[in-house]
Amino acid sequence: MSGPLTVLVANTKGGCGKTTIATNLAGAFAAAGLTTALADGDRQGSALGWLKRRPEGAAPITGLDWGKEDGRAPRKVARLVVDAPAAMRIKRAEALIKLADVIVLPVLPSPYDEAATARFLKRIEDLKPIRKSRTAVAVVGNRLRPRTRASTRLDAFLDDIGHTVVTRLRDSTLYAETAAKGMSLFDLSTRRAAATRQDWSPLLHAVEAVV
């Protein structure tokens, strides 16, 4: 392959955890010693804001402002994470998807999110890279407690539309706490962080499996 392994975090629904997942993925890559870039495709710039807060000495991540226009990753970048805006035109979605090796799709366990997710999946399913399985789609259940009713419902919903969750991220105040400091779970050495990080293993494995 040419260019970095690229992960696009996208869903048309706002607040489902795109920025949270994008920043934590970037944090995981950087912590593994990979040359990492994080592209913020949202004009609100919350991912870039997170990078600004990032403390000195934390594993380095290069920020890219793709708020107005998609750019390219600098040379030598091994992993590129793209935080997509909630609303984008189909042309832009197409361009970003073409760039991506994996699309991570966060879903909250709520009827509104499910409906939005179903629509989004339907829209992108016919795009060539996805139709031809060149780009993998990884659905991530966010803010879930395992074996709750909401969690079972989400599984049933995904099953209906022919998907399964790659992983479930638990609801944890750690996300807000770390985000406020420009950090990810992968920058912490506490036992609590290590336990919460477990949720990320299946997703990281799935991302690394594409090449």
Partner: protein, 549 residues
């Protein structure tokens, strides 16, 4: 990225790929080759004059464990992570080859001492290396296999007395590859050029092969380890695409093409020895036929010296594979459909039994030839010739000029010539006698190989439609040939069993049934075959003369 861990070393000679890219072999190019032996042969190697005179060897025991993720990420990325024990010390090595993740195309090797037997990735900080590893979580890595062998190395000085001097390291490896539940012996020698001319490595190997029946070894220890761990047999390999680049000088293009054919042959060597997948014999034979075809294609620019032995040795080895392939085809393509249509006919069972016996004999002969030192020497001789300059070596002035021209010019001429020849031979196709059809089929095959060699020079739709039309026609004529070959084989089989205790009459009946069945099928498909001919004759050649910019 291929699913195979660390592609098999090209032919027996690693490092040759780089060598054949450039017209002259860089003296620093790593030349390493490997030969398969038995314990007895290793003892003979030790006793042989060149080796014995090199003095006492350095002996080491090498204990190495290879690690990977459950989904074999490192192998997929053409990397290997191993921890080698040396006395009380542990050395960790990450090796990568070829294209890496994240646009970091590089061959690399990162080695560092670590504290214990388990890998310690914290010592690997180079971003290029990290890019290959990706995110490795605790518990992701597990041992896949171990290699445990005794290695004996000697430095051998060759040359002097006219021949150019060179120093070669000879390593004799004796031990095994282990997984939790399986074992596979390691018994091989490796020759590595330390200094001097690359051809010297091949020459030394040929001297050893002249005394000791060493055979070709293709898979590296790492590839064998993964295959063993994952319960995979070596799999048959097709020719693969070849892109020589239209600006390549003719000489290096010829080297590339010949080398591609030889790789096709050797990549299937171990599949043939395994004797399970019939595709192995088939592909190895195709590789050798392509080689012969390439040699005759380039006869105007190749000197008689390599052309002669390349052709005769390839013919010998391909010939030795013939019966195995022919009985395979007979059993699966000719006999099987007739059996299905006539269930329970005893005569057909007799025929099957005898055909299976012949096939077994054919496989034994094919394997013996593949293992034969004549095959080994053929490969080494080719390696030596390439290392010595390949198509450019021993050039007279008249040839030099054409060898420097871009290949695209010659390619268009050669394709034109073969195409015209086929068109001429195909005149009056519909009512053509069987013998002329066969001659045409052979000519078509030559055209097909030439088209394959040069296809990379002419990208685009025209080439694709041309190849499609050609392939379709070949399919039909190929079946016609299979039936003719079967007639020859069955005639011989009947003769062989004419006075035997087995049911000779039944054999005759069964053979007649099979031949009749397919002769009729060939006759039935005649209109389609004629259509395919017309389709091919009408297709536009995809090359244009002097297309070079």
């Amino acid at each position: 990225m291929g699913a195979k861990p660390m592609e098999p070393a090209p032919a027996a000679a690693e490092g040759q790929a780089a060598a054949s890219e450039s017209p002259t072999v860089a003296p620093t190019a790593e030349i390493e080759l490997k030969l398969a032996a038995t314990a007895e042969m290793l003892a003979q190697v030790r006793r042989s004059a060149v080796v014995a005179s090199a003095g006492t060897p350095v002996r080491k025991h090498l204990d190495t464990v290879y690690y990977d993720t459950a989904d074999r990420r490192l192998a997929r990325r053409r990397a290997a992570l191993r921890v080698r024990r040396s006395g009380k010390r542990y050395i960790q090595t990450l090796k990568t080859e070829g294209e890496l993740v994240g646009a970091l195309a590089a061959r690399g090797e990162w080695e560092s001492p670590i504290r214990g037997p388990d890998p310690d990735l914290s010592v690997i900080t180079d971003p290029d290396a990290r890019a290959v590893l990706g995110v490795i979580l605790p518990g992701d890595l597990a041992p896949v296999f171990a290699t445990r062998f005794a290695r004996e190395t000697r430095l051998i000085d060759v040359g002097g007395g006219g021949a150019p001097a060179a120093q070669i390291e000879l390593a004799l490896d004796d031990g095994r590859i282990e997984t939790l539940s399986r074992k596979d012996p390691i018994c091989e020698l490796e020759l590595e050029l330390k200094s001097g001319s690359p051809a010297a490595v091949f020459d030394l190997a040929r001297r050893l092969v002249a005394e000791i029946p060493l055979s070709i070894a293709v898979r590296s220890k790492a590839v064998r380890g993964y295959d063993l761990a994952d319960g995979r047999d070596p799999s048959a390999v097709r020719a693969g695409d070849l892109d020589i680049g239209s600006q390549a000088p003719t000489a290096s293009a010829i080297d590339r093409i010949l080398r591609h054919c030889v790789d096709h042959w050797t990549a299937n060597h171990e599949v043939v020895l395994q004797g399970v997948d019939p595709e192995g014999v088939h592909q190895m034979r195709v590789g050798l036929r392509r080689l012969r075809s390439a040699v005759s294609l380039f006869k105007s620019v190749l000197p008689g010296e390599p052309a002669g032995w390349l052709r005769s040795e390839a013919r010998w080895l391909a010939g030795a594979l013939g019966p195995a392939r022919e009985w395979d085809v007979f059993l699966s393509d000719l006999l099987a459909p007739v059996e299905t249509a006539h269930p329970g006919r005893a005569e057909l069972s007799v025929l099957r039994l005898l055909a299976e016996e012949e096939k077994t004999r054919g496989y034994a002969a094919a394997q013996a030839a593949a293992r034969d030192r004549r095959a080994t020497d053929f490969l080494l001789r080719f390696g030596a010739w390439l290392a010595d300059g390949g198509a450019r070596s021993g050039t007279e002035d008249a040839r030099t000029q054409s060898l420097d021209r871009p290949i695209a010019e010659l390619a268009a001429n050669l394709l034109d010539r073969r195409h015209q020849r086929v068109l001429k031979m195909g005149r009056g196709f519909a009512g053509m006698a069987v013998e002329r059809r066969h001659a045409l089929r052979i000519e078509l095959k030559k055209l097909r190989y030439a088209v394959d060699f040069f296809a990379g020079l002419f990208p685009g739709k025209a080439a694709r439609s041309y190849r499609r039309a050609l392939a379709r026609l070949q399919d039909h004529l190929g079946h016609l040939n299979d039936v003719a070959v079967a007639e020859r084989m069955l005639t011989a089989l009947i003769e062989q069993h004419a006075s035997g205790t087995r049911d000779a009459a039944g054999l005759g009946l069964a053979s007649g049934l099979v031949l009749g069945w397919h002769t009729r099928a060939v006759a039935d498909s005649e209109p389609v075959t004629c259509q395919d001919w017309a389709g091919f004759a009408a297709v536009r050649p995809f090359w244009t003369r002097g297309r070079v910019e």
